[in-house]
Symmetry: C2
Subunit: 581 residues, 2 copies
């Protein structure tokens, strides 16, 4: 073995022991006749000492070691005179007797430090060096821990992990599939799964009762910061359950993960309907770490010749506690913020509730102080508060006000990444109408069951049907989502019809599932968690890339291995394919 | 909740309780005024009772329930008069008060019994019904258990599970890749990994020190019974280790899995060189559950005008204890066996060592009893034994004799699937010469390091270089294989040269790895286990398909979902592909 100990475990108890360590040269300092080297491995850093007086040639050799050289050293553990109590090995050092260079290193293109000088592109190209940095490795160790704890929890409550296939069949519903040409079945293609949805439902038909899997999924979509072409889900399904059973089971998992991985105790998760989330937060993934919920004053403000309000379908705002003192400049900046194209409000109305009890607004021309008092009452505002109000089309106003609310949360430090406020959002609509294609799309997916009491609406008013669907939202991020599924062939067929499938299309693509429903399919439902996002939330980062060992860039490329790449003509020929640029 | 208990947990302690169970109708029997239904779920079977006297309409309804109907019943737990002590719930039954049909079922195409009447193809098409059968579900539960125990063991000894990418880059070395066309990078392709080999090595360069992953891998090869286009590996890599460290670490895992999953204690694993395995067993994956090792008598048999032996490069045989009494017909059958084309021996010579001490052979014309006595001494045969001898080209003879040995092991019941005899085979050759393409191929893979003492042979006699490579073999099956890797850029380049790569090809395909070797790559090595095969070995089956939830058939097709399948023209257009049959 090339070491007796690792670089993180020696302490004063080992004083006098002869040890062998292996690792990387983190840094080297020459002080008078001494040379000190910090030797690093995954477990920590240990200080090595070389003495010019006692062994000049060894010390000379040590001085030639460059950053990131890999060495194996043997020496004696000794107490340090200049202790570093910040690290576990900081009370000792190794008086080196001999060492061997196991491998040299060119000078790395960026520093291997917690705060590196390397830019994003460079760090991606040399990802194997970026992964040497403690924060990046810690992210992946957190991910490992999350997976281990998830599996232990799920195993303990009787869930079986079953691997579902990666080479499946393309279905045009949903996002775009990655496809895989088949050599043995010429002209035909597999697809990579966007989720194991149909397979987990088949496992329920098969009587597996409780299934889970931590599994790679794939979507060929244009990429954003928090999207990767391949991503990981905690995928789960249960039989003979109601929505309540699923929510309480996965509330258990959520609490367990927070407790074991973060040491955080989570209270019972609140449940909020989609309708309430939209009305009070303008968002189906509300960040409930802070209040500042929406107040609608549409009726209160009409008929005073203020055209913006008179024409508006919705006038709504938020009360920002203690911000009456915001300067004109700060308010102008907020106005610019809401007017950004991606937010899209026409403007921002404010009302200052001054400490002296007076009210001052940007619409004083139209509204008397008495009228503003009525607004303040509606907002439950108190002296010192600032009311921010938007108006216009209802959906757009809610969306913009949601952004404004989150921005105020940021400005006031109410969105602490170490505070966790999970909730369930329930009763999602079953369908969404798409103006462009003039058809309904499944809001969750085509296998989601309508609420039994809304089934009659499927014929009369499909857009109003609510689904047995739910999302787990934490700190404004959708962490998981699921539904009680349809388990009846006729209802499933009807769903496909509403979604614009012909019977032939539905049969060709999902016939295997509908056939399975004819052989005793149990009531069932499930949920899937975005594992990458969950890890980044637990780790306190916004970017899922920081929690993926080898992520791809926004063009879907792995710049380290330079992939994708052209393939050989023989490969194309074997697959009976021609490139047709 | 649609049940208060599952179908496997009720017993006499619950007598008098009102319970709700949900499950499938396994079978139904009408006896006089009573109807008995066995209700099944994943956890077991519980007997339901309906009484025509006390509730005629309920009993009538129950009599209409078909096999595999899904029902939910509520009733009272009662002691059974006619107990079945073979099952945990066999002392009780449920006097049903009410039930609900949750779903009906068509008559299944085969019986849902441990021994079904369904053929292979039918069971694959209705895999969700086949998975309802206890033995099939038990296989997948064993697989789940194996994965959980593997992860716990690896986590406990400091290994981090890291997910490596599925969308990587095609490399022509090794088996054929599945490729995935990239829409965002027109005319370019990802490939699915045959193993995470280069990524796990990069994780070692990154200082992860101990990595593992249970991971899907892909090979587009023609399929056999024990091969699937997608399969699962336990993939592992360690830094700063010698071969010994790796063997002892994974000997630990092997013993742990046998102990926890099978309740079997395994002794220290023997280590056998590749050379010895070939010489003594004719096979690099020897089944050492029984002896019958090869005895070479080439020198002993020459010069007696028996042309078969005189012309043979190798004359070798096995001594089969206690089989001197084999009949002429049995020996003829064995002769036919070795002459099969896939075995390829020219014939079989036998020597019976009769109980009375006399020797009788099929070559008495050429050899005296005294000469046969010398053979018997070489074979360490005793009266009652049967010697079986093959002759010819050395490699072919060993291969055929190995098959004969295994056949005799089968005939004599020496290959009990509940006995486990693991061993390490070590010191594999680094390279294999291929006559057809007139080049060397890596026996393991191009990243395997030669034994340091054999490095000089790389220039003079590459075929004789031994590798730091090892296989875990259990009961004649290769369960895992690995090697100490090359971590030096120059040596890696040299390997690629020996394997016929131009510098440009090597750089284009593996440049990222060789570049990584320039930044302080530590010595490292690893191993990968065939997880599907491991599960089937633990489960006592020969077929890995029995341990895969949704396997593909020999044409690479999933007959249940009917995949692969044609894709839409728009998909091809978006990918800039044309099919060219």
């Amino acid at each position: 073995m090339l070491r007796t100990h690792n670089c993180g475990e020696l302490n004063l108890n080992h004083t006098g022991n002869t040890v062998t360590l292996s690792g990387w040269v983190q840094r080297s300092r020459d002080l008078g006749g001494m040379t000190f080297i910090d030797l690093r491995d995954r477990y920590g850093i240990t200080q090595l000492v070389f003495n010019m007086d006692s062994n000049a040639s060894l010390c000379e050799s040590a001085r030639k070691l460059g950053r990131e050289f890999v060495i194996s050293v043997t020496g004696t553990v000794a107490e340090r005179s200049n202790k570093n109590l910040k690290i576990p090995t900081g009370e000792i050092e190794i008086i080196v007797d001999q060492f061997e260079v196991l491998n040299s290193s060119k000078i790395p293109p960026f520093t291997i430090e917690d705060n590196t000088d390397g830019g994003d592109e460079l760090r991606m190209k040399y990802r194997y060096l970026d992964l040497r940095r403690n924060p990046v490795r810690d992210n992946l160790m957190l991910r490992h821990r999350m997976a281990i704890e998830t599996r232990n929890y799920m195993n303990n409550i009787g869930f079986i992990e079953v691997e579902t296939p990666v080479l499946i069949k393309s279905t045009p519903e949903g996002a775009r599939d990655f496809v895989v040409p088949s050599r043995m079945n010429e002209g035909q293609f597999y697809a990579l799964p966007q989720s194991p949805q149909t397979f987990k439902q088949l496992l329920m038909v098969a009587g597996f009762d409780r299934y889970f899997q931590i599994v790679k999924c794939f979507r060929d979509e244009d990429l954003r910061a928090d999207r990767q072409p391949e991503f990981t889900q905690i995928d789960c399904e249960m039989s003979f359950v109601t929505q309540d059973d699923i929510l309480s089971t996965f509330e258990g998992l959520t609490k367990y993960l927070f407790r074991t991985v973060k040491g955080v105790e989570i209270e019972a998760l609140p449940r909020m309907t989609f309708a309430d989330a939209m009305k009070n937060y303008g968002n189906d993934k509300p960040d409930i770490r802070f209040g500042m919920t929406f107040v609608e004053i549409t009726d209160l403000v009409k008929g005073k010749d203020f055209k913006v309000f008179d024409d508006a379908a919705l006038v709504a705002g938020i009360n920002v506690t203690g911000c009456a003192g915001y300067t004109r400049k700060q308010l102008d900046t907020l106005t610019d913020f809401v007017k950004r194209p991606q937010i899209g409000a026409g403007g921002l109305i404010y009302v200052r509730y001054n400490e002296d009890g007076t009210l001052k607004s940007s619409v004083d021309k139209f509204y008397s102080e008495d009228e503003l008092k009525k607004w303040a009452a509606a907002f439950e505002a108190r002296p010192g508060d600032l009311m921010l109000i938007l108006a216009g089309d209802a959906a757009k106003t809610r969306k913009a006000l949601s952004e404004l609310r989150l921005e105020m949360g940021n400005q006031l430090g109410l969105r602490n990444p170490e505070v966790f406020a999970p909730l369930w959002v329930v009763d999602f609509p079953l369908l969404e109408w798409d103006e462009e294609t003039q058809r309904y799309y499944a809001m969750h997916h085509p296998f989601t069951s309508p609420k039994p009491e809304d089934i009659p609406l499927l014929d009369s008013d499909p857009g109003r049907v609510r689904a047995n669907a739910y999302d787990l939202v934490i700190n404004g991020v959708e962490i998981g989502g699921g539904s009680i599924r349809i388990h009846n062939k006729e209802l499933q067929k009807k769903m496909f019809t509403i979604l614009g499938f012909t019977d032939e299309d539905a049969q060709a693509q999902f016939g295997f599932l509908m056939n399975a429903f004819e052989y005793g399919a149990p009531p069932h439902g499930g949920i899937a968690f975005g594992f990458d996002r969950m890890c980044s939330l637990f780790g306190g980062s916004e970017s899922i890339r920081d929690y993926i060992a080898f992520p791809k860039n926004n063009a879907g490329r792995d710049v380290m291995i330079d992939s994708p790449a052209p393939i050989k003509q023989e490969q194309l020929d074997e697959l009976k394919l021609k490139i047709n640029l």
